[in-house]
């Protein structure tokens, strides 16, 4: 968001009131800062200005000056005479000038809006009952707020193709398109994949992909979010659920260390879609398509839903008892996870300290697309550093664990969701060591584990992640987890309390935060979980600046030292 | 004492007789329930029970559908329903008295009919006996004594239920009974005075005597209308009929004394209530409406033989049934009194009225008797 304090302020006259706005903003933003809505379709704060929808027409004028003397010309009552621009101007492409006068609700402006709405609706189909955008549609909103209320159009409406496939994830309903070109600008400016454009003229204008191309980049679904009407629809969400049924919960995308802010839309415990949430410090208004389909893992086939001991389903109490029995003898190794929340990593560290266990950690790395999908494919690698679980930068494997197993130092293993056998650990080297597996999905390790304690996905629990910029961001539970399962922090605090004498670890987020913020040297000092409700919190990561972070330069991110970035 | 054949015969006869009477009264009680439902329905523009029918009966042309429409078989179904309902005894009741209460309510109702004459039997030799189980000299006193025992059943039910509504019902019932018992007794005294005028040779405390005094003479309702009115009102109160049904007023006491009762125990209460009405109507008929004599001032138009007996009984029953109809009629016409109004009516209106009535008849009878004394 544009903050008033950031820039130099200028004074303009908005609907007869003198207001201060930052210099350089356009009239839409300036009016929004003072609670006036100027309706618009094509303008988007994070895209270039196109000015083709004409919805944001306002009246503008400046105080007149005498050309010869430069003296202000005054009205008869002594007030400066305003030279109004004879025709309305578009608010999106008009930046504020000191002293300018703007009318956002004059008769001319209202008449302009009414006429623009009428033009936009001339060929718009009466699709609202089946349109996925209904309920969050700008056209619906502005038609009720500024529209004429009845139709004067008696001719047949244009009929255009209703389900054009633009790409693997995006379907276009041509009839509904109002030609605002937001999607085209997004593909050019943000996704850097220029595939969309308009062809034909007049009422035959159509949005289409360039010949032989399709809208298949990893940011294509952002065009669906951008579309102010229901023209671009997500093939995945198409006809699944009306938006007014959906409960939106703020969350953080667990896909990569970019930590995109998201809204998880669910109804009655079922997630239907994930959309980006605007955060100008982290992800603007975008997120990758790959992160949007992560909700499917909640209901996937290989989801662990029942606690197991020795391959047999059992009650959670029995499983915890078996885990405690297996961990209370000999040397324990704990394999942490960069996918766990900060609180879970803190508890895992407490557990490791309490039972003097050896700690292991692996990272998951991939290609960096330079936007919002970073090479670090875990949401919380920096959390392991902050929580004290790890001090060194993890490798993409668990060779240190393999070494320890080969030496035969370990008598039991706690594994947090990682698959050991995909991490350069030999199945033979386990050699009957009991494995306590805490994870959400089945894998080779969970199948071999003595005790399986199913945990919850990030959609089913609350917690916080630290992203690549050391922004601490909270995510909230959006749907309930499978029946009978406990959140990870409760499982970990149970284990901690039962294994470590004189340990009274609370399992409440606020209690854990109290413990985390207590050490004087903690970077989380003077923070508590409820602070994160207001927004992300920038932490001091200079302590770890020398570590070889793998992320490359991307949207809102610059590697701390180019050397470290190169070394990955 | 040796039991000779005559005594045995008498006992046998009386036993048979008693069975017949119990059967008759219970049947009448059952059918009064039906009458209650039918009459109330008609008065409210409805049709009332008209679905119950015995197997095959509805196939009888004309008669079958008619009986079905009249609901003739409804009492049977109602009785069976009470019998087969689940027996629920709330955990908080005093078991002994809880089980006892319905019986205590029913027994007085049935006992009173032992002294109730309902006809005359003409012997071949010209003698006539009243048709009665026990021709007590003090029959009316017996009735007054026993019928007021019925309230014990209600009080007992209210107390043993151990619950507030039955308790209130029981208390109201006993208070109401005491209040109207007085007016009732006082309203009968002028009757005794009138009937037992010196020299008439009739025992005024015997119901047969009272009936006999009305033969070919005026009915007592004509000479003593105020007594009859007070007695009738008191009868309504004693039988807990509607303008006075304080003990079970549904609007304020849920079900009153029988709130905690169900199935057959409730059924017994129900039957007892209607048995009271039947017996009460019969008593009123005997005392004020000339008993089995068909018209006042006129000799019975039937011969003095078995046919005459039957017609006499029929006449008595007709009067009783009409009176039962009157009971039902009143119920569906008048709204319920408030409890304080019931008390006010009993103590402030009926009791003084009965006393004034008594004094009036004392003076009247003594004045009428004067010539006899001087002669």
């Amino acid at each position: 968001m544009i903050s008033k304090k950031q820039k130099e302020a200028v004074t303009i006259n908005l609907d007869g009131k003198e207001v201060e706005v930052p210099a350089g903003v356009n009239l839409i933003e300036a009016a929004a800062l003072h609670g006036k809505e100027i309706p618009h379709y094509c303008y988007h704060p994070q895209l270039s200005v196109a000015g083709n929808c004409r919805m944001c027409l306002v009246e503008m004028g400046t105080p007149m000056r005498d050309r010869g003397s430069g003296e202000p010309i005054l009205e008869e009552d002594g007030s400066p005479k305003i030279g109004w621009v004879p025709k309305p101007v578009i608010g999106c492409a008009t930046d504020v000038i000191p002293g300018m006068h703007v009318k956002t609700d004059s008769e001319t402006v209202l008449d302009c809006r009414e006429s623009i709405m009428e033009f936009l609706l001339v060929n718009h189909p009466l699709d609202c009952p089946i349109c996925d955008q209904a309920g969050e549609c700008r056209l619906q909103e502005f038609a009720t707020d500024y529209g004429r209320g009845y139709s004067r159009y008696e001719e047949r409406k244009n009929v255009k193709p209703k389900r054009t496939r633009l790409g693997p994830r995006v379907t276009l309903d041509d009839e509904r398109c109002i030609l605002c070109s937001r999607c085209i600008r997004f593909c050019q400016e943000v996704a850097d994949d220029d595939v969309l454009g308009f062809v034909d003229r007049g009422s035959f204008s159509t949005l289409t992909c360039f010949p032989g191309r399709e809208l298949s980049n990893n940011y294509s679904l952002n065009t669906v979010d951008l579309c102010p009407v229901g023209a671009l629809t997500s093939s995945d969400f198409r006809f699944k659920m009306r938006v007014w049924f959906l409960k939106e919960t703020p969350s953080i995308c667990p896909e990569s260390s970019a930590g995109c802010n998201t809204l998880v839309s669910s109804r009655e415990g079922e997630i239907y879609r994930i959309t980006p949430r605007r955060n100008d410090l982290v992800n603007d208004s975008w997120m990758p398509d790959s992160g949007r389909s992560l909700y499917k893992e909640v209901r996937s086939e290989d989801r662990l839903t029942k606690p197991r001991t020795d391959g047999q389903d059992c009650s959670l109490e029995d499983a915890i008892g078996a885990a405690v029995a297996a961990l209370s003898v000999g040397q324990v190794g704990i394999v942490g996870s960069c996918r766990s929340s900060l609180e879970e990593q803190f508890l895992a560290n407490q557990l490791a300290k309490g039972i003097k266990a050896q700690k292991f950690l692996r990272g998951h790395f991939g290609d960096d697309d330079g936007i919002l999908l970073s090479s670090d494919r875990t949401p919380n690698l920096r959390g392991t550093l902050l929580s004290g679980f790890a001090s060194a930068y993890p490798k993409d494997n668990l060779s240190s664990l393999a070494l320890a197993l080969k030496k035969g130092n370990l008598d039991a293993l706690v594994v947090m969701g990682e698959d050991l056998f995909e991490s350069k650990v030999d199945a033979d080297s386990i050699n009957g060591i009991p494995i306590i597996f805490l994870g959400t999905h089945e894998n080779a390790t969970s199948q071999l584990a003595k005790v399986v304690l199913p945990t919850l996905t990030s959609f089913e629990k609350s917690g916080s992640f630290v992203n690549r910029n050391f922004f601490l961001q909270a995510f909230r539970q959006s749907v309930p987890g499978p029946a009978g399962l406990l959140p990870d922090i409760q499982l970990l605090s149970r284990l901690l309390n039962e294994l470590v004498e004189e340990s009274f670890q609370g399992s409440d987020l606020d209690e854990i935060w109290e413990d985390m913020a207590r050490p004087a040297s903690s970077p989380l000092k003077s923070l508590c979980f409820s602070d994160l409700k207001k927004g992300c919190v920038q932490l001091d990561g200079s302590k770890w600046a020398s570590l070889p972070f793998v992320e490359k330069k991307a949207l809102h991110y610059k590697p701390a030292s180019p050397k470290a970035a190169k070394s990955s | 004492m040796m039991l000779d054949a005559e005594t045995l015969q008498l006992v046998g006869m009386k036993f048979l007789f008693a069975l017949l009477m119990v059967g008759a009264v219970m049947t009448m009680a059952g059918y009064s329930v039906l009458a209650e439902r039918k009459v109330s329905a008609w008065m409210q523009g409805r049709v009332g029970p008209n679905r119950t029918v015995l197997p095959y009966v509805q196939y009888i042309p004309i008669l079958g559908p008619f009986l079905r429409g009249l609901g003739i078989f409804q009492p049977l179904a109602d009785g069976l329903k009470f019998l087969f309902k689940e027996e629920i005894v709330p955990g908080h009741v005093n078991k002994l008295y809880y089980y006892m209460a319905p019986l205590v309510a029913l027994v007085p109702a049935l006992t009173t009919m032992t002294v109730l004459p309902f006809g005359e039997f003409f012997h071949d030799n010209g003698e006539s006996f009243p048709l009665i189980l026990a021709d007590l000299e003090v029959g009316i006193l017996f009735i007054l004594a026993v019928s007021s025992l019925g309230v014990y059943g209600i009080v007992l039910a209210g107390w043993s239920s151990n619950s507030k509504y039955p308790f209130l019902g029981g208390i109201r019932s006993s208070a109401q009974m005491i209040s109207y018992e007085l007016a009732m007794g006082l309203s009968l005294l002028p009757v005794f005075l009138w009937v037992s005028e010196p020299g008439s040779g009739l025992s005024a405390l015997s119901l047969t005597g009272i009936v006999a005094s009305q033969a070919e003479s005026t009915w007592l309702i004509i000479v003593q209308p105020v007594s009859a009115l007070i007695f009738l009102i008191a009868l309504f109160a004693e039988t807990n009929r509607l303008p006075f049904d304080m003990p079970e007023s549904e609007t304020d006491l849920v079900g009153g004394f029988h709130t905690e009762y169900g199935s057959f125990k409730f059924g017994i209460f129900f039957v007892a209530e209607y048995a009271h009405i039947v017996v009460g109507s019969a008593i009123f008929t005997a005392i004020f409406l000339g008993g089995w004599h068909v018209f006042p001032w006129v000799a019975d138009p039937w011969p003095e033989n078995w046919l005459g007996s039957l017609l006499g009984v029929g006449c008595f029953l007709t009067k009783t049934v009409l009176l039962i109809f009157f009971f039902i009629w009143i119920r569906w016409t008048l709204p319920r009194f408030r409890y304080d109004q019931v008390m006010h009516l009993g103590w402030v209106r009926l009791l003084p009225l009965a006393l004034v009535n008594l004094v009036f008849y004392v003076i009247l009878v003594s004045w009428l008797d004067q010539p006899v004394a001087t002669n």
Binding site: F239, K240, F245 | R46, T333
Partner: protein, 181 residues
């Protein structure tokens, strides 16, 4: 300010104070009532005459061409006060002959008659005039499952109703004769 006027009630006469004449009048009223015509409707044999705007069991109707009208917009589900309606939306395949313009149709449509309060909001809100509360009023069943009307049952109950709009026919005509792209 309104002035309070105290009305003196006429004192009761002696006969009125005994209440007996009034009781007799009441008895007369109830007695004459006994012989008036009965108003009881002998239900299973005699059926009531339903008014034209009667709200019975909600049903789904088809248009005169036998096509399903519901487009699963879920507005009825949204407006339903007792949450009796549950719709699973689905799409119409592109090669569907009659309904290629409709695109969307309910995959499953359930109305829980144990929840329904017959308010008629669903009929009121339906933009396609697809749901109607018709004359069926004695809907019953032996199990809870039986009381949930699924899509097939709803169409069976609803049948076909006349349609004044022929929205989709007009759309088809526009495509054929209008401004084809």
């Amino acid at each position: 300010m309104a002035k309070t006027v105290v009305l003196e009630r006429k004192p009761l006469s002696l006969s009125e104070r005994t209440y007996l004449p009034q009781i007799l009048t009441g008895l007369k009223t109830t007695f004459t009532n006994m012989f008036k015509e009965k108003v009881t409707l002998q239900y299973p044999e005699e059926k009531p005459v339903l008014p034209p705007n009667y709200r019975g069991v909600p049903t789904l109707v088809k248009d005169p061409n036998g096509r399903e009208k519901c487009v699963s917009c879920q507005l009825c589900e949204f407006v339903c006060p007792p949450k009796a309606i549950r719709i699973t939306p689905g799409s119409v395949p592109e090669d569907h002959e009659d309904r290629e313009h409709v695109e969307k149709a309910p995959q499953e449509f359930e109305i829980n008659m144990l929840r329904c309060i017959y308010c008629g909001y669903c009929e009121e809100v339906c933009p396609e005039e697809a749901i109607f509360l018709q004359n069926e009023y004695s809907f019953s069943g032996y199990t809870r499952d039986e009381m949930i009307n699924d899509k097939a049952k709803l169409y069976e109950l609803g049948g076909t109703l006349p349609d004044d709009h022929y929205k989709w026919d007009k759309k088809k005509e526009a495509e054929e004769k209008g401004n084809p792209h």
